[in-house]
C-alpha cells in the first residue's frame, strides 16, 4: 500500500507506521497530500483497492465519534493549506481545507474583516474540520454557524471525482444546496478540498459584560434574559456559564451570563448602559472592554478537551465533552441540570450554554463509571426537553460504551440513502457518524 501511495505523494509526506493514540481514528499509515489532485489520486487508489480512509485536519476532533480504531489510510489535510483567492470588496475568501482558523483570521485582520465563527482551539482547528464537524462557539448567536457562512466547496468524492458545490457568490440557488450535505457530515461523504466562505467586517469595538447571579436566584436569569431578548439589544453572545466554570474564568461565584457586544463603539457603550440600567438585584456586574474581552474569549476557546494535548488516558480521571441541543430558553434549565447533576455524580463539570442559539456544552471529568452514568442522565434530561445530547469528545475505549450520537432519527433511511448514493463502498470515515454511517 505504501509503495502505491508513494507514487502519488512524496515519500516524505507518508508516515509509514501510523501513530498510536488513545482517541483512535488512526491509520496504518498517514498521508499528507498538498493538493486536490493528490487527494483525488489517494481516494481513487483507496476505492479501487477496497481501502478504508479516515480524514482529519489537525486532529482536534479525534475524540469525536468513530467506532473503528484504525483505517488503512489516515488522510491528513494539515499540509493542504493557504489562501486561494480573496477579495475584500466581495467579503468572501477561498481557502484550502487545512488552513487554521487563526491563520485565516490573521490574514484577514489587516483588511478589517474576519470569519463568522469562533470555534474551540482556533490555532489548531482547520476550516475544513470546523465545517465537517459543524463546530461553533458562543458568538453563534449573532454569527450563525457553518451552514450559514459556507457558500461553496470543492469536494473530492470517495471515487476520486471532484465535485463543486455552491459557488463563490453570497446568494445562489442554482440546483440543490449541496454545501449543506457536507457541513456536519463528519467526513463521511467526501473530502473537502477547498472552501469559500462569507466573511464579516471585523467589529470596530467589543466588550464583554459579565453578569453573575447567585445560585439561589436562577429564576432571575430567566426573566432578565427574556427582557433582554425582547429589547433592541443585539448581543453577539448570551452564554450562561455554571459556577465552576465562572469561577475558573472570571473569579465570579454563581451562574454568570457572558453577554458579548460588538460593533461601533457608541452602540456597544449604549448597550452596556442598558444592561447597567436593567441589572437585576443581587447580581454582580463586570464590564470588560476590547483587549480584556478578547482575552476571556481566547481562554474560552481553550475549554474543550484537545486530543493534541492528551497523550494518555487515566481511567480513574478522564474527560469527555458533551453537546446538548435544546430550545433557546431551555438552555437555562439544562445548564443548571448539568451543574446539579455533577454534584451528585462525583464528577467535575464545566458547562456553558447559549441562550439564543440553544447549544450547551459540558466538559465532564471523573472516573469511567461516573462519566458514563452522567452522559446517560444528561441525555435523558436533554431528550425530556425535546432536544438531544451527543458526545463530542471521548477516548476511543469509552466511545464503545457510550452511544456517541444517541438513537438514530426516525428518517434514518434517508441518511443511509445519501451515504449509499455517495459512498456505496464505505471508503470514507466509516462508522464515524450517526447510526454507524
Amino acid at each position: 500500500m505504501v509503495t502505491e501511495l508513494e507514487k502519488i505523494v512524496d515519500e516524505k509526506r507518508i508516515v509509514k507506521s501510523g501513530d498510536e493514540d488513545p482517541f483512535g481514528n488512526l491509520g496504518k499509515c498517514t498521508v499528507y497530500p498538498q493538493t486536490e489532485e493528490e487527494i483525488s489520486a489517494i481516494l481513487t487508489y483507496a476505492s479501487k483497492n477496497g481501502r478504508k480512509v479516515f480524514v482529519e485536519g489537525s486532529g482536534t476532533k479525534k475524540g469525536f465519534g468513530g467506532l473503528l480504531e484504525k483505517a488503512d489510510i489516515l488522510l491528513s489535510l494539515s499540509h493542504c493549506k493557504g489562501v486561494v483567492e480573496y477579495s475584500a470588496g466581495d467579503l468572501t475568501i477561498t481557502v484550502r481545507p487545512g488552513t487554521t482558523i487563526k491563520e485565516i483570521g490573521e490574514y484577514l485582520a489587516p483588511f478589517g474583516q474576519c470569519l463568522s465563527v469562533d470555534p474551540a482551539w482556533p490555532e489548531f482547528a482547520t476550516i475544513g474540520g470546523v465545517i465537517a464537524a459543524n463546530s461553533s462557539g458562543p458568538k453563534r448567536l449573532k454569527y450563525g454557524s457553518a451552514r450559514d457562512f459556507v457558500i461553496g466547496l470543492r469536494v473530492v468524492y470517495p471515487d476520486g471525482k471532484v465535485i463543486r458545490t455552491g459557488g463563490k457568490v453570497v446568494k445562489n440557488v442554482a440546483g440543490y444546496d449541496m454545501n449543506k450535505l457536507f457541513v456536519g457530515s463528519m467526513g463521511t461523504l467526501g473530502v473537502i478540498s477547498e472552501v469559500t466562505v462569507k466573511l464579516r467586517p471585523l467589529p470596530k469595538y467589543e466588550s464583554l459584560v459579565l453578569l453573575s447571579f447567585s445560585e439561589k436566584n436562577l429564576h432571575e436569569i430567566r426573566s432578565f434574559v427574556i427582557q433582554l431578548l425582547d429589547s433592541m439589544m443585539e448581543p453577539v453572545s448570551l452564554e450562561l456559564v455554571n459556577p465552576t466554570l465562572s469561577n475558573q474564568l472570571t473569579g465570579l461565584e454563581g451562574y454568570t451570563l457572558f453577554i458579548g457586544l460588538e460593533g461601533i463603539e457608541k452602540s456597544v457603550l449604549y448597550q452596556e448602559m442598558w444592561i447597567k440600567e436593567h441589572q437585576p438585584k443581587e447580581t454582580e456586574l463586570i464590564i470588560l472592554q476590547q483587549h480584556e474581552a478578547k482575552k476571556i474569549w481566547s481562554t474560552f476557546a481553550k475549554l474543550a478537551p484537545n486530543p493534541l494535548r492528551i497523550k494518555e488516558i487515566d481511567e480513574s480521571n478522564l474527560e469527555i465533552g458533551i453537546k446538548i441541543g435544546s430550545k433557546n430558553i431551555d438552555v437555562i434549565e439544562l445548564v443548571e441540570a448539568c451543574h446539579l447533576m455533577s454534584l451528585n455524580k462525583h464528577v467535575d463539570v464545566r458547562v456553558h450554554g447559549g441562550i439564543g442559539h440553544g447549544i450547551t456544552k459540558a466538559y465532564v471529568k471523573g472516573n469511567t463509571e461516573a462519566v458514563l452514568s452522567y452522559v446517560r442522565d444528561i441525555r435523558s434530561a436533554g431528550c425530556n426537553k425535546g432536544g438531544y445530547a451527543i458526545v463530542e469528545h471521548a477516548p476511543y475505549i469509552l466511545r464503545k460504551h457510550v452511544n456517541v450520537w444517541g438513537d438514530p432519527p426516525s428518517y434514518f433511511s434517508l441518511l443511509e440513502g445519501i451515504k449509499k448514493a455517495i459512498d456505496p463502498n464505505n471508503v470514507l470515515n466509516t462508522q464515524r457518524f450517526v447510526g454507524g454511517l
Binding site: G89, A174, K180, L202, I264, K266, S267, H357, G386, G387
Partner: protein, 488 residues
C-alpha cells in the same frame, strides 16, 4: 370551493382524489385548469390533469401515496408567484395546491420561533407579530402574495438578505411528505444541529423535487431599534457600482443595498409609485442601515462620504417613515413597472461577485445593443444579485425568442464572471439548460443522485432544475424506473 356543488365526474384518478379531499376541493374540468397552466413565468404552459386542495398533512400524504402507486406525476404549488416555472406542468401532472393549509399554528416569542402551514402568506407573518415588535426577515418582492411553503421550495430571498440571509438561514424545522407518502419531521421543535446530514438545508431550495413541505418552523427576529434609508443619485453607472463595493469594504453591512439603472428608473417613474427621480440619472442606489440607533448615524455619515468619493450627484436620507415607504414602494414594484414602458418583459436573476459589477453591467449593455432590445437593471447590488429586465414585444415576430436568448446571454455573462445563474428565483424550467454554464455533467449527476434518494421514481415535480439527460447513467435511470414517461 369555487363553484356551486356539483358531483365530481371523471376517471378513476379524479374520483379517487375527490374521495380524499372532498368533491369541493378538486378541479379537473379544462376551463377550471387554465389558471394552473403556468405560474409567475408565463412563457411556458402545460395542462395539469387535476388540481387538488388538501386541508391537512394526512390528506397530502394520502394523495401522494395514491398518485405514487398509480405512477402519476405530481407538483406542489403555493401562490404560483414563482418566476422560474417551478410549478408549471408539462402536461398530465396532478397539482397539489397548498393554499388551504394557511394557518399560523404557533408563535413562541421567547424562543423566537413561529410555526406555520405552507400556504401561509409571507407578509402575513410579519403583520401577525409586528404588534410585539417582531418580524420575519426574508422579504421577496412578491411577499404580499407568495406563501412561505413556496419560499422554502425556492429558498427565496429579498431586498433585506444582505444582512439577514435568505430563507434557508431562517428555516428551523420542517414537516415533509415524501414522494412515497411518508410523513417525516426534521428539525423537530426548531432545535439546531440535530445529529445527521442537514436535510433541512438540503430540502430548502430543492424546488419541490424532494418532498412536499406541510409545516414549517421559522426564526422570527426582533425589530432593530433604528433604521435609516439613503438615496444616492449617480451620473456614471461605474461610480455607483464602485460605491457598492466601497461601502462593504469600509466595514458596513447595510440591511439592503439596491441599485437601478437609467432604463429601470424611466420605468418606475412612469408607473404607479413615482418618487420624482431626475430623468437624466445613470444609476441610483437605495441603501438601508439598521441596528442600534446611536450607531446608525455614524454609518450613514460614512456611506454618504463613500458616495461623495465616488462622485455622487446627490445623496439624501429619508426624512420620515412615509418617505422611506415611498422609496421602497417605488423599488419593490419595479418589475411590474416595466409594463409602463414596454408591452412585455422578461426578468433574469444572475449573481456575480459584487466587485465585478462594472464589467458585467458593461457586458449586459453589449447584449442589449446586439439583441436590439432594451435591458433595464434593477437589482440587489449588495449581494451581487442582478435582475436584468429584458423589454420586448411578443407581438413582434421573433422578439420573444430574441428576449429569451438575450436573457440566457446575461446569465452566461454572470457565470463567466465567477457567479451563478440564479440568486433567488430558482432554476425551474426556465434555466435548466443554463445549469450547464456553472455545473459539469458529474456535478449535475451528483445532484440527481441525491434527488433519487428522496424521489426515486421522479414522480414529484419531474423535468425541473436539471438539463435533459446527456449521460448514459441518467438515461439508464429513466429506463430502470420503468414508467410511462408523461413528459418527453
Amino acid at each position: 370551493m369555487f363553484r356551486k356543488k356539483r358531483k365530481v365526474q371523471g376517471d378513476e384518478t379524479i374520483l379517487s382524489l375527490a374521495r380524499i379531499v372532498g368533491d369541493d376541493y378538486i378541479l379537473y374540468r379544462k376551463e377550471d385548469l387554465i389558471a394552473y397552466e403556468c405560474d409567475g413565468l408565463t412563457l411556458y404552459k402545460g395542462m395539469p390533469k387535476a388540481v387538488v386542495f388538501p386541508k391537512t398533512t394526512e390528506e397530502v400524504s394520502q394523495i401522494v401515496n395514491y398518485l405514487s402507486n398509480c405512477n402519476i406525476p405530481f407538483i406542489a404549488r403555493g401562490a404560483g408567484t414563482g418566476l422560474s416555472g417551478g410549478a408549471i406542468p408539462f402536461g398530465g401532472e396532478v397539482i397539489i395546491s397548498l393554499v388551504r393549509m394557511k394557518k399560523l399554528l404557533r408563535i413562541d416569542y421567547e424562543n423566537r420561533q413561529a410555526v406555520i402551514q405552507p400556504g401561509f402568506v409571507n407578509l402575513k407573518l410579519t403583520n401577525s407579530i409586528a404588534h410585539k415588535g417582531y418580524y420575519y426577515a426574508p422579504d421577496p418582492s412578491s411577499q404580499y402574495a407568495c406563501t412561505i411553503g413556496g419560499n422554502v421550495a425556492e429558498n427565496a430571498g429579498g431586498a433585506h438578505c444582505l444582512k439577514y440571509g435568505v430563507t434557508t438561514n431562517h428555516v428551523l424545522g420542517l414537516e415533509v411528505v415524501l414522494p412515497n407518502g411518508d410523513i417525516v419531521e426534521i428539525g423537530e421543535e426548531g432545535i439546531a444541529d440535530r445529529p445527521g446530514y442537514d436535510l433541512l438545508g438540503l430540502l430548502t431550495g430543492s424546488e419541490g423535487t424532494m418532498g412536499i413541505v406541510t409545516k414549517i418552523t421559522v426564526r422570527i427576529l426582533k425589530n432593530p431599534e433604528g433604521k435609516k434609508t439613503v438615496l444616492a443619485y449617480f451620473d456614471r453607472i461605474e461610480d455607483a457600482s464602485y460605491a457598492v463595493s466601497d461601502i462593504i469594504s469600509v466595514g458596513i453591512v447595510p440591511a439592503a443595498l439596491e441599485m437601478m439603472d437609467k432604463t429601470a428608473i424611466e420605468g418606475v417613474e412612469a408607473a404607479n409609485f413615482p418618487v420624482g427621480h431626475p430623468k437624466d440619472l445613470a444609476a441610483l442606489l437605495l441603501i438601508e442601515v439598521d441596528g442600534i440607533t446611536v450607531g446608525i448615524e455614524d454609518e450613514i455619515n460614512e456611506i454618504v462620504e463613500v458616495c461623495r468619493r465616488r462622485n455622487v450627484r446627490e445623496v439624501k436620507v429619508a426624512k420620515d417613515e412615509a418617505e422611506r415607504a415611498k422609496w421602497w414602494a417605488n423599488r419593490k414594484t419595479g418589475f411590474g413597472a416595466m409594463g409602463a414602458i414596454s408591452p412585455d418583459y422578461l426578468v433574469q436573476d444572475g449573481v456575480i461577485p459584487r466587485t465585478k459589477l462594472p464589467e458585467v453591467l458593461a457586458k449586459i449593455n453589449d447584449i442589449s445593443k446586439k439583441s436590439g432590445l432594451r435591458i433595464a437593471n434593477i437589482f440587489h447590488a449588495g449581494d451581487g444579485n442582478l435582475h436584468p429586465l429584458i423589454l420586448f414585444d411578443a407581438k413582434k415576430e421573433g422578439e420573444t425568442e430574441r428576449a429569451l436568448a438575450a436573457g440566457s446571454e446575461c446569465l452566461r455573462a454572470c457565470a463567466e464572471s465567477g457567479g451563478s445563474i440564479t440568486g433567488e428565483h430558482g432554476v425551474g424550467i426556465e434555466k435548466k439548460e443554463e445549469m450547464r454554464f456553472i455545473f459539469t455533467d458529474d456535478e449535475i449527476e451528483a445532484q440527481t443522485n441525491i434527488r433519487s434518494v428522496f424521489n426515486p421514481h421522479n414522480l414529484l415535480n419531474p423535468g425541473k432544475i436539471f438539463p435533459s439527460p446527456s449521460r448514459c447513467a441518467e438515461i439508464k435511470q429513466e429506463i430502470i424506473t420503468n414508467r410511462e414517461p408523461v413528459i418527453n
